[in-house]
């Protein structure tokens, strides 16, 4: 094998070596050799809790698929690598693709990593099912028409939904607004989307303070003091990490949460840390795509939530569902493509084609990949309440919106889309 390859390289000038290897490797696949799926999960730093959550969803999905004869009789084998800096993660992706020869890669959360991996997935011709990191820049500029990358829902969905709820429930009840958002693209995009939607709804407001603490900051006393001075009627924040409870705690201690209404687009990501002690009732709180305590949840979600709590002593968050969906969507796509190919294991291109528009049951209900490789899902937000059996807040009533309502359609700019609404 090595000799043939060397001869080949000598002919082609070392150019197409990998491709050649993959072609002659393909027929060698035994029908029951495992399907290899690489996983990129953050394990350290701010992203770690979310990365772990996504990994749990993937693992649970894999266990269930494998328990039910795998994909077309082939077991799924996970190869887990760490998502860290863009440079290191690109190298991990290459390793998964070139060395481990995975059939697909699932994972990645950080926007920077997401932007780096997009082109790499195309170059490596490796299917990549992202959990998150779908920024405007990523979708519009960097990879307008990807073949191998499948992205999550747009980053701004949460802000759009929270803004719609704000307009619906709080219109006329506030005039002065402050934003405190993490200082990076996600924070800036969400804040801009919020302001655009308020304008669209004709809500006159004045922005009294715009604060941009570092992502993952642990001290907000100065920010809280600045907010105290600005006295906003409403505070908008898209914190999603450990910064959420810390900010709320310090805001509560300074009496801020009693004076200002809160809109927390993504705080549900760390919902267990939002203790009743310091999180007020009546704040708009977003859980992204999975609300663990939803009364109308499917049996599947209930089973997962139970398993998660038993195993980790924690209630799951949305990233588990993103992770779960990538696995079941891949399985569904392979099966769909196989049906078209007469039951044989389909070629990668056929799997990609099948993934486009594929629909599968996620933990939180049906989901699909749009033809432009963006995920469609249902979002959960609502007003915080203390009336529950936990020591942290939940939401009641639970409002749901689908990406049909809160995600810009394919090929349209976010703000053009917002401006085209009929209000």
């Amino acid at each position: 094998m090595r000799t043939t390859r060397r001869q080949f390289l000598a002919l082609s000038g070392g150019a197409l070596g990998t491709a050649a290897l993959r072609l002659d490797a393909a027929p060698a696949l035994a029908q029951n050799a495992p399907v290899k799926i690489g996983v990129l999960a953050a394990k350290a730093g701010v992203l770690a809790p979310v990365g772990e959550s996504g990994l749990r969803g993937v693992q649970w999905a894999t266990e269930r698929v494998n328990a039910a004869r795998g994909i077309l009789g082939r077991r799924i084998e996970l190869i887990v690598e760490e998502e860290s800096s863009p440079k290191d993660t690109v190298e991990r992706f290459r390793k998964l693709s070139l060395q481990d020869r995975v059939d697909a890669v699932s994972g990645a959360i950080s926007t920077g990593v997401g932007l780096a991996l997009g082109p790499v997935a195309e170059e490596m011709k490796t299917i990549w099912l992202s959990w998150d990191a779908t920024t405007q820049k990523g979708v519009e500029e960097t990879l307008p028409k990807p073949k191998y990358s499948f992205r999550s829902t747009d980053n701004e969905c949460e802000a759009v939904m929270a803004s719609l709820l704000t307009a619906r429930h709080l219109k006329g009840k506030f005039r002065t607004v402050a934003g405190i958002n993490p200082d990076y693209s996600y924070g800036r995009d969400n804040w801009a989307a919020f302001l655009a939607i308020m304008k669209k709804y004709g809500i006159e407001l004045s922005v009294v303070s715009e604060l941009w603490p570092k992502l993952g900051a642990t001290d907000f006393t100065a920010h809280v003091a600045a907010l105290g001075q600005a006295r906003p009627d409403l505070i908008f924040s898209c914190f999603w990490a450990g910064d959420t409870p810390i900010f709320l705690k310090q805001a509560h201690a300074a009496g801020l949460t009693a004076k200002s209404k809160l809109v927390l687009t993504t705080g549900g990501g760390v919902h267990e840390a939002l203790k009743k002690d310091f999180t007020p009732e009546g704040a708009i709180l977003g859980y992204n795509c999975l609300y663990f305590d939803w009364a109308r949840a499917s049996a599947l979600q209930k089973e997962f939530v139970r398993w998660h709590h038993e195993k980790f002593k924690e209630w799951p968050n949305y990233e588990s569902d993103h992770g779960y969906f990538t696995i079941v969507a891949y399985k569904a796509a392979v099966e769909r493509a196989a049906r078209a190919a007469g039951g044989k294991w389909p070629a990668p291109d056929a799997i990609i084609q099948a993934l486009e528009g594929i629909e599968a049951e996620s933990l939180s209900g049906p989901r699909r990949f749009r033809e432009d490789h963006i995920m469609e899902a249902t979002f959960f937000q609502g007003m915080t309440t203390h009336k529950n059996a936990y020591d942290f807040v939940t939401i009641d009533p639970v409002e749901t919106m689908t990406t049909k309502q809160i995600q810009k359609p394919s090929g349209v700019g976010l703000y053009d889309w917002i401006n085209s609404w009929k209000v």
């Binding site: 642990t218 003091a225 201690a253 300074a254 924690e314």
Partner: protein, 263 residues
């Protein structure tokens, strides 16, 4: 004092924070009256200082080499402690609920301040005074200062340098761990704390002057005021402003605001 720039000071701080949460949660679970949690925090911080001597023992291996090696060794400690904390406490933020509001809140000049914050500020002041007293009025303090001035001279006078260093270092570790423990009720312990804190601590020490207690105190005030000022007026430049001041101080007064001559 020891002329060690310890990048791992942030790790001690984070370790103190995590341990503080665990200790208080455990104590409250075993029926400790809520107002006494402060004592548990301080005790857990002090108890953690046991890691001081072994770490100091490790650093001792490079005392007589270029200072750069000490810097590197503490960088190694940063990497190791980060994973130790991840292993023990996981990756999710770890916190105490609102226990600290048990001391109540005060309205000061139109804003509300938890009494606990004032307790921590007072504790900080007390520690500063205590350190000052320790360094100026006790035999140990005089030995430490003399040693900081001139290692060889102290050694020649029969001072057991190894013991002095071990004690000073352990004291430093204890200040870090207790500091972390005291701050934790008002915030939450997260993995990236150590690396974040060290950047600010670095700024404080550079601005104040290496080896100067008074400098460290003033340095922390300057950094605090600078941050608050930037957040209130021009939030975009918060971190930039700190580095600009750090570089300014290093360039104009490389030994810091509170030390004598340049290196």
């Amino acid at each position: 004092m020891q002329r060690i720039l310890n990048l791992a000071c942030g790790s001690f701080y984070a370790l103190g924070a995590y341990t503080g949460v665990s200790a208080v949660t455990w104590a409250l679970g075993h029926g400790l009256p809520a107002p006494l949690f402060l004592l548990v925090l301080v005790a857990s911080g002090l108890a953690l200082a046991v890691i001081g001597p072994p770490v100091e023992r490790l650093l001792r291996a490079v005392y007589d080499r270029d200072e750069s090696f000490q810097l590197l060794l503490t960088f190694a400690l940063v990497l190791m402690f980060e994973d130790v904390m991840r292993f023990v406490w996981g990756t999710a933020p770890v916190q105490l609920g609102n226990a600290y509001l048990v001391y109540g809140r005060l309205a000061v000049a139109g804003s509300t301040v938890p009494v606990y914050n004032l307790v921590v500020i007072a504790a900080g002041g007390l520690v500063a005074l205590g350190m000052g007293g320790l360094l100026t009025h006790t035999r140990f303090g005089r030995i430490v200062r003399a040693t900081a001035e001139n290692r060889e001279m102290s050694a020649a006078l029969g001072v057991d340098l190894r013991r002095v260093y071990a004690r000073v270092f352990t004291l430093g570790v204890a200040l870090g761990t207790v500091g972390g423990a005291l701050v934790i009720p008002a915030t939450a312990a997260v993995n990236e704390m150590a690396i974040d804190v060290v950047v600010e601590a670095f700024a404080v020490v550079v601005i104040g002057g290496l080896g100067s207690m008074r400098g460290a105190f003033v340095g922390s005030l300057i950094v605090g005021v600078l941050k608050a000022g930037a957040i209130a007026t021009w939030p975009e430049v918060e971190m930039l402003a700190i580095y600009v001041v750090v570089i300014g101080v290093l360039v104009l007064r490389p030994a810091g605001l509170f030390a004598g001559a340049a290196p």
